[in-house]
Symmetry: C2
Subunit: 352 residues, 2 copies
């Protein structure tokens, strides 16, 4: 995303209504697109001397912690816009959350777009605006990027990759391998909303629901958690594959079992109803603003209280405990145990 000063000077000027191959050529049209769309909107985020790389003083990072966290995710969600968010807010929050659950303070993001020829420029504008808002809310900066255009049919509308760096606080090292029998398992609110939203938004069903995505940044909530409990064992955001997948990953990594109490699982009524109608399990539906936290048993109350004071954690609950064994099980309302296996096959493609 190299912008010349003269390109900056002539902002905003973009006569095209749709993306053409020239917008990915490296030439004048690409400069104009980047200037009009990205530079004007990311104003104040991008460094002043634009080169192909962001340049970040290491002293600024070492003041905040002792390790760099580095992550990446591509976003291919279909449709691009859905109740509660869009591919832009998803791309920012998803990567912010990947950094946050490592115990890091998310700091800087990249933004790489693959655009399909023919994409309306107005769609792109809306997505970029959404990224800017999401970045501001999460307190991160988008500092560099890339734009590629593929001919019509070579991609579906718009894909975004965001990579992110953050700083891990000294003494805070959550990791699945630290989980021990006896630990408490918490979640910050109702599960399955993002997956249910995308399902409905696909318009494969003539359903009217109130469901909207839980897409939100979790770094503020993580601040509250690690302040209350620096010895937090593990955190992970429950995205693709849902809560059950994260718990299976935890169980396998730490060689433990996990037992959930079905009655303690927060699921919104509308999501529960949709799942019953379609034969889906909210435990396997994607979330985009939910994290699973594992803490030592004597810290559970403190952490729960800290989570509930944060807007993103008002509906937090203890949902189960770590046990000996190697399976994830759900104690049902009838008192029986149901094994929660890993997801086999796909529940829903292009969920994020």
């Amino acid at each position: 995303m190299t912008i010349s000063s003269s390109a900056r000077a002539k902002l905003p000027r973009l006569r095209d209504k749709t993306i053409t191959l020239a917008h990915g050529s490296g030439g004048q049209a690409m400069q104009d697109l980047i200037a009009a769309l990205f530079v004007s909107q990311f104003e104040g985020q991008l460094p002043t001397a634009l080169e192909d790389q962001a340049r970040i003083p290491l002293a600024e990072l070492t003041a905040q912690g002792d390790r760099l966290a580095f992550t990446t995710d591509s976003y291919v969600v279909d449709p691009l816009f859905f109740p509660g968010g869009d591919i832009g807010s998803l791309a920012v929050n998803g990567t912010v959350n990947d950094l946050a659950v490592s115990g890091a303070v998310p700091r800087y993001l990249t933004c790489a777009m693959i655009l399909e020829e023919g994409l309306p420029i107005d769609v792109l504008k809306q997505v970029v605006a959404s990224m800017v808002t999401a970045a501001q809310q999460a307190g991160v900066k988008i500092v560099t990027g890339d734009t590629k255009v593929v001919p019509r049919g070579g991609a579906d509308k718009l894909f975004i990759n965001t990579a992110g760096v953050g700083v891990m606080r000294r003494g805070v090292t959550p990791a699945a391998v630290h989980i021990q029998p006896g630990d408490a398992v918490l979640v910050n609110g109702p599960i399955g909303n993002h997956g249910a939203t995308i399902l409905v938004a696909r318009e494969q069903f003539a359903l009217e629901t109130e469901i909207h995505s839980d897409c939100q940044p979790l770094n503020g909530l993580v601040d509250a958690i690690v302040t209350a409990c620096p010895a937090v064992r593990a955190m992970r955001d429950a995205t693709r594959g849902g809560l059950a997948t994260v718990l299976n990953e935890f169980a396998e990594s730490a060689q433990v079992g996990i037992r959930l109490i079905e009655d303690d699982l927060p699921v919104d009524e509308a999501v529960r109803g949709l799942c019953e109608l379609l034969g889906l399990d909210p435990l396997y539906l994607a979330n985009e603003g939910k994290l699973v936290v594992v803490v030592p048993p004597d810290q559970a109350d403190t952490v729960l209280a800290a989570m509930q004071t944060h807007p993103a954690g008002v509906h937090s609950r203890v949902i189960g405990h770590v046990i000996d064994g190697q399976r994830v099980a759900l104690k049902t309302g009838f008192g029986t145990d149901r094994i929660l296996d890993r997801l086999v096959g796909d529940q829903l493609p292009r969920i994020c």
Copy 2:
């Protein structure tokens, strides 16, 4: 790219022959794919405790310099394999080079793949193997990643995003704005080979040529340059849009003119022949292993000598000088000046 220890234990086992939607679901099939393909091949590159983020000690970085360089690029090249490289080597070298030309030592890369349902697993294996080899050659590590699958027709085969971090050496800050009239402009060898290779590889022409891509890492060459001349004004790799585009970016950023001498431009005979046949200009053809270097006039000989001692710079040349004005011009063999404008429109889509 979260891998459980049990998934690690059962490497390699992958019965599927093609990519299915389940490989992007977050469930068991995705774990198996990641374990069999990425973990087994990136062995020794990935950190041992696999979480969704790489965790890098900041002390390791501050020992090497004072600023973090951070960059991203998506790769959508078509075809995936071409003489001299493939999308995998391109994705590693492209991002390594973006970091290197900032004066940084490239260190860590991410790898995010968007796969089309139906992609042969063998193709993916070959691309991953190529990334591993390229990373080893460049001395960087691929430390985290992401895999998304879109339904057939939602993307064309395989797209890769690599983001990268590197460490900028103390006292070395190349930037286009530093360029001044009088400075010398150098390039490390023949131009246009990558673009010409992709053109021929598209099989739109029944041509037999010896042309192959110049896809290569440039960080070793940059080491030689900044050691010889820490005050290097600017460096940039001449990818999309070719040499002419980089020079136009330089001219606009620094508000200077640049004058090239046509007879001093290195162009391979085969590339020149292809360009004459098709009416193309090698100055606008993409490169994937060529950088433009601008240095103070009294440093030109020293830098040229340093470049020529490195394998990636054997054919380096001084190709022109910075002048007053604001245009990039080429002094032709006939003694006339030809203006090299920015590329308008696209010369070739999906070149990288």
